[in-house]
Amino acid sequence: MSNHLENQVRTCDTTGLPVCLTAQKFIKLNGVFAVIFLLIGAIAAVLLALTRWPAVHLLDAQWYYRILTAHGMNMLIFWILFIEVAILYFACTTLLNSRLFSKKIAWVSFVMMLVGAVMVNVIVFIGKADVLMTSYIPLLAHPVFYLGIILVAVGTLIGVYNFFATVYIAKRDKTYDGSVPLVVFGAIAAAIIAVVTLLHGAVVMIPTFTWSMGWTAQPDPGWYRLIWWGLGHQSQQVNVCAMVSVWYLLASLTTGAKPLNQAVCRSAFVLYILFINLASAHHLLVDPGVGAGWKIWNTSYAMYLAVLASMIHGFTVPASVEIAQRAKGYVRGLFGWLTNAPWKNPGFSAFFLSLVIFGFIGGITGVTLGTQQINILAHNTLRIPGHFHATVVGGTSLAFMGLIYYVVPLIFQREFYARSLAIIQPYIFGIGIVMLSFGMSFAGSAGVPRRHWDVEFTGANLAAGFDSGTHLWLGVMGIGGVLAFIGLLTFILLTVAAVFFGKSNKGRAMTPWATPKTLVTEGDVDATEDHRSPGTMTLVIILLVTFVVYYFANWLALTDVWHVR
């Protein structure tokens, strides 16, 4: 039984799912602003890529650091948080057949987040906060910078509260029967981690703000790093959770995939909740003041159980696609299901590229760089952004783009223009990000620092520099960055054109993106009963072998460096 108020709900003409109109409004608002922040971040991104490419070296030092601050904030914090609040609102209403708990609270949350984000952007661009997004003390920014972050964090918390309250009233009003759908389960996991994360944010930002006002003493820089990364890293786990939920969602929208074993998928989400809370450690692996035992236990999230969770999803998601495809009759060979997947559906290609980039590049590099001793080779080098542009960009952001290819027609009820451009967009972006990530990773392996304006050290008292091979990798990074920027800009323009000028599809189903045709008629083949997924098994074994090789290659590289304890 639904709990919608009269005239506050519509039935989706494509999926038949109920859409709460209040939730719809805030999904739209949050979505639009998410894309605006994505645009600011994207312009910053191409400027950064063109500055770190030594042959171009576009910006001057001051603007490089300023733009770097803006890029980090707008991308990692604003784009991601605004879109995630939209995803939460969607999951708790449409998928639970419930109304949104409170319109007022949604407004409060949205306005706080927006005001905070605008404050941060203004203060950064007028040059009063050149401290990078981590604002490591004793670096000092204008108080408005910290206040803006606090507003965004608290605003997001309030939005998350609205989500939990909606989940609660849905349960109370029995709007659904049984357990919550898997995607909602994943969203709940993300929201729980988000609460812990945002509380860390409050704990670290409030004393920093009062210090910047001159009211209290300077917090300890080691303590600051510990707590800040409680925010900074766990928020990445929110992103992973949200991304995995979106994978499940897109897999089912684009191929009709069903999770094989819900208990396994859900347990994996629970592992995230239980074991991620230790994660700030892997940013402190070569820090003073925290001991080896603490570093080892915490960097591995207590024996890598959160990594286990990702490896499980990395199997169950493609396996569900494989089984759905085989059931449709694509049974030829190991990979017939994959070659016949709807590669011309940007929802599918974005999702699958995200899965591959996240797994093969982001995941493997992340675990390896987060290994206590190996971090000596990687801390603060370009390997680090090389890693996370394959997780939160090629993984999470790309998955969210895939989602938006459905959100616009289904929630905004507008059609995309230039659909052939949309079809290739995920590939352009994906290839660009992979190049960027490789370029950064290899340059970083030679020791090229991240957050550094001039790797030729022009004018330094004692000379330093890198060889030409390393410069070549920085060129690959630069070209990949430009390509990714083109892909991202294409996405933004397509979305803006559709949202503001697209043809309405009210009253009819959306113009479908390609979905695979069913080759067999129902009951024809008992493929439907076949729950084997040999293709996926092959893929994950390749993944595991790659992982093992990369991991031990890094240990080997470590044996070459000076002895240290």
């Binding site: 080691g222 820090d287 080896a292 890598y304 020791g447 000379a463 330093a464 996926t536 240290v564």
Partner: protein, 174 residues
């Protein structure tokens, strides 16, 4: 479907390929976990995080004292200090230099104390590519043994203001 309420009997043990993959993954996770404590005891490269509280001014005084007793030369106005093998060496990170230049002996170990005067800095030794985080107020002790002779560059890889890219230093190993 993952967007619908699951069947009532959704709680099932994993089976088939899924079970095999979970087992393989778990084994791999445990191997990765074990590697770290093993390396801590058997390996030669570890970050123990050994550190002591120190006031920046007090640390500067120690650096100056070491220069006074162990200076052996000068390069571009920066003193070259040759600490006693097996003894303490001091390195200060400040906006924007690593100070002083150190001269070490291959195969000898040193207790290298590194701290920052003003902001956070990143100790990055090239081309070996070893990286440690340096905080003001913390005397970070790295017990190091250079394994190869040569001239090594030190750069800073934590943002420390507009002159961050000018922050360099040097370690000579012979």
């Amino acid at each position: 479907m993952s967007i619908h309420v699951p069947d009532k009997d959704w709680f099932k043990a994993p089976s088939g390929g899924e079970r095999i993959w979970i087992a393989l993954s778990l084994i791999w996770c445990l191997i990765m976990f074990i590697m770290m404590p093993v390396w801590h005891f058997k390996g030669k490269q570890n970050s123990t995080g050994e550190a002591y509280r120190v006031e920046p001014a007090a640390f500067v005084a120690r650096v100056e004292a070491a220069i006074k007793t162990h200076q052996v030369g000068e390069e571009n106005g920066v003193p070259i200090v040759e600490p006693t093998p097996g003894g303490d060496a001091y390195l200060l990170g400040q906006m924007w230099r690593w100070y002083p230049i150190l001269k070490l002996k291959q195969g000898q170990s040193y207790r290298l104390h590194v701290s920052a005067l003003d902001l956070q800095h990143g100790f990055s030794l090239l081309p070996v590519n070893m990286n440690f985080h340096i905080l003001p107020g913390y005397d970070h002790v790295l017990t190091i043994t250079p394994t190869q002779a040569g001239d090594y560059q030190l750069i800073c890889n934590e943002f420390c203001g507009i002159g961050h890219h000018l922050m360099t230093g040097k370690i000579i190993v012979e």
